[in-house]
């Protein structure tokens, strides 16, 4: 009892914004600062604005993909179809860009619509057929892979990204600020608005907490779940479009490197994998944390094997620190 009152008093002394901060988000930001300090000890160029902007630019691709993943995780579901949705978005946008002027104009929307179609199948499977999301998204991932392999013949397609895609990913509309960062900021701002200020966002949190209760209070839970999956598919494909613009072409299995990081970014940012709890600020922290970690490991010339191991260990350790579910009692 006395413990509780002392912590209350301690909390009362803290500034208001600190009291409202989720410990998971605070831990993530603390880790980001620690990584930056560690990196600056290793190389002095680590804290230069150019390097940090470059990191933000790389982070923005993961950021867009993680936004969709976060929507789905908030529902208490998961989207394992990210790898080939990203690849489908990239390949279809590049393929459209090769089809003449109209194709160039429609390249970006076409890529996103292809991703939304995959999301629609996921959404119907999860919301209406009640198949566990992990299974149905694994299956659509396999179907998307099959379609892309059949379409490309198993090789990386020769079509290159359209000018608009390249401009979105590598250009700088405001001098010094990469466009992809602006894109991420717009996507992020829209997500924060939708999650906190709209009925849809409220319903997403409600369904994540207890779908049965949300249904009984009159939420059309199945439509909301389906919409969230469509949005997640579209965002993953948009991430793929940006990546294709960045590399100026699509490649086989370019999306494989985004499944684990996108889940890790969302979960490290304090969003509960069981759904219903989490903030977009945390996801931003998670995305930057993962990108910095990857960057530092590659600056240290860590081979791929070591990177995978450190990566897995960091995720397990951070989750053990604050991602544990309550004990069964």
């Amino acid at each position: 009892m006395s413990d509780a009152t002392t912590t209350d008093r301690q909390e009362a002394r803290m500034p208001k914004f600190l009291r409202r901060l989720d410990p998971a988000v605070a831990t993530s930001f603390a880790c980001i600062v620690a990584l930056l300090v560690f990196g600056s000890l290793y190389s002095s160029s680590f804290l230069s604005p150019e390097y940090l902007l470059q990191q933000l630019k790389v982070a923005s691709f993961l950021g867009v993909i993680s936004t969709g993943m976060m929507l789905v995780i908030l529902l208490g579901q998961i989207d394992l179809s990210v790898p080939w949705t990203v690849t489908t978005g990239a390949m279809m946008a590049s393929a459209a860009a090769a089809m003449g002027p109209a194709g160039v104009f429609l390249a970006i929307p076409f890529g996103i619509v292809c991703g939304m179609t995959i999301g629609l199948v996921n959404g119907i499977g999860v919301a209406y057929l009640r198949i566990p999301s992990m299974i149905v998204t694994l299956a659509t991932n396999a179907v998307a892979q099959g379609l892309m392999v059949a379409y490309t013949g198993g090789f990386s397609p020769q079509d290159s990204a359209s000018g608009a895609m390249r401009y979105l990913a590598t250009g700088a509309f405001i001098p010094g600020v990469p466009n992809s960062v602006i894109v991420w900021a717009i996507v992020g701002g829209a997500t924060v608005f939708v999650l906190t200020r709209t009925t849809f966002g409220r319903s997403v949190y409600a369904i994540g907490n207890r779908e049965r209760a949300a249904y009984l209070s009159g939420v059309n839970t199945r439509r909301i779940v389906m919409t969230a999956f469509i949005a997640a598919g579209g965002l993953a494909a948009f991430g793929g479009v940006l990546l294709a613009g960045y590399a100026s072409k699509a490649a086989q299995s370019m999306g494989d490197a985004y499944l684990l990081p996108s889940i890790a970014a969302v979960v490290l940012g304090g969003t509960s994998i069981l759904g219903g709890r989490g903030s977009y600020l945390g996801t931003i922290a998670g995305v930057i944390l993962i990108t910095l970690l990857q960057s530092i490991l590659s600056v240290m010339q860590m081979p791929e094997a070591g990177r995978q191991i450190i990566y897995g260990v960091v995720i397990v350790v951070m989750l053990l620190l604050y991602g544990r579910s309550p004990a069964s009692r």
Binding site: L129, V143, A144, A150, D256, L274, P303, A305, Y311, G312
Partner: protein
């Protein structure tokens, strides 16, 4: 009479998987240019047994209402390890085999410890440990290579008495040595009970933690047996990310086809074995019908999507809409 009804209700998924497999295999051999010969059966069995081991490993975890997304990576890791250790004299080979199996069991035990005692969600925990296991596999074999004791490899992938595929005999032996005792033990029942309803099992004083831990550990062991067999077939070790991912995905497909409930507590490893054989045969059907191999991933994906959609038929039996939300 009523006893039979219960037995049928429990084994329905397994029997269905057996039925699918038999139908597919008959279509396969009937259209195969060589027909139903010992050679065709041996090749089919060798390919099927690999997936069957991984699917059994997945079943053990799925029964406890978990999921193991690192199972393909344990399979790769033990494959790479076996390509270093399972060489030399019979004695050295034996030590190597035991070491590989122990490492597999250790990987499974780590997963189990993180999920059960660390209380992390199995999906995230095994994705992360999968990355670790893949990293170690890549450390062991940055490039494909290595070798294996070829006498042992040929003995286990060949035919006994010129007819029976040795790999099939090994699979049956593993079922009898690992699965049947587990299923009949107290811990096996605890794993089923935990998957069926963890709260009820806890309240009844069932040793759920030890049961689940044993299930995860044995799952790692079975994945390691699969990894050993992969080494016996290919004579090399290779850390290919795509291949590990594919085995994880196929193992889930096999488990679903084999009638194991992904919500836990229902199904058996025997069903998963038939599921694995059926899935492999479906994939091979394309070859006997002379279709372009490029279509194989799409075909397998569509079969997988249809297989998992079959579960939706249970919706027609729902009387109260609230049951949608389990």
């Amino acid at each position: 009479m009523s006893e039979w009804r219960y037995w049928y209700a429990e084994q329905k998924g397994t029997l269905l998987a057996l039925g699918i497999f038999v139908v597919m295999f008959v279509i396969y051999t009937a259209n195969h240019p060589a027909g139903f010969t010992a050679n065709v059966v041996q090749t089919a069995s060798n390919k099927g047994v690999l997936l069957a081991f991984v699917a059994m490993a997945q079943t053990l975890v799925v029964i406890t209402a978990g999921i193991d997304l690192s199972v393909g990576m344990i399979f790769l890791l033990t494959n790479c390890l076996a390509s270093w250790l399972v060489v030399g004299s019979p004695f050295e080979t034996t030590i190597g085999v035991v070491a590989v199996l122990l490492v597999g069991a250790l990987c499974g035990a780590i997963n189990g410890a993180i999920v059960i005692y660390g209380r992390l969600q199995p999906i995230v925990a095994t994705i992360a440990t999968g990355a670790i296991y893949f990293g170690i596999a890549l450390l062991l074999r940055p490039f494909p290579g290595g070798s294996v004791n070829e006498d042992l490899a040929d003995a286990l992938t060949g035919r006994l008495l010129g007819v029976v595929p040795a790999s099939l005999v090994t699979l049956i032996a593993v079922v009898l040595i690992v699965w049947v005792p587990f299923r009949r033990s107290e811990y096996g029942r605890a794993a089923y009970a935990a998957g069926s309803s963890e709260v009820a099992a806890y309240m009844s004083g069932v040793p759920i933690k030890r049961g689940k831990f044993l299930a995860y550990t044995l799952s790692g062991l079975l994945a390691a047996i699969g990894g050993l067999f992969l080494t016996f077939f290919t004579y090399t070790g290779e850390a290919a990310f795509a291949s590990g991912n594919a085995y994880t995905l196929f193992s889930i497909a096999a488990v679903v086809l084999g009638g194991v409930s992904l919500f836990g507590g229902r199904g058996s490893a025997i069903g998963a074995i038939f599921g694995a054989f059926a899935f492999r045969t479906i994939g091979d059907l394309l070859f006997v019908f002379d279709l372009d191999p490029l279509w194989q991933p799409l075909f397998q994906g569509v079969v997988l999507l249809l297989a998992v959609s079959l579960g939706a038929f249970a919706l027609f039996r729902v009387k109260n809409r609230l049951e949608w939300f389990g």
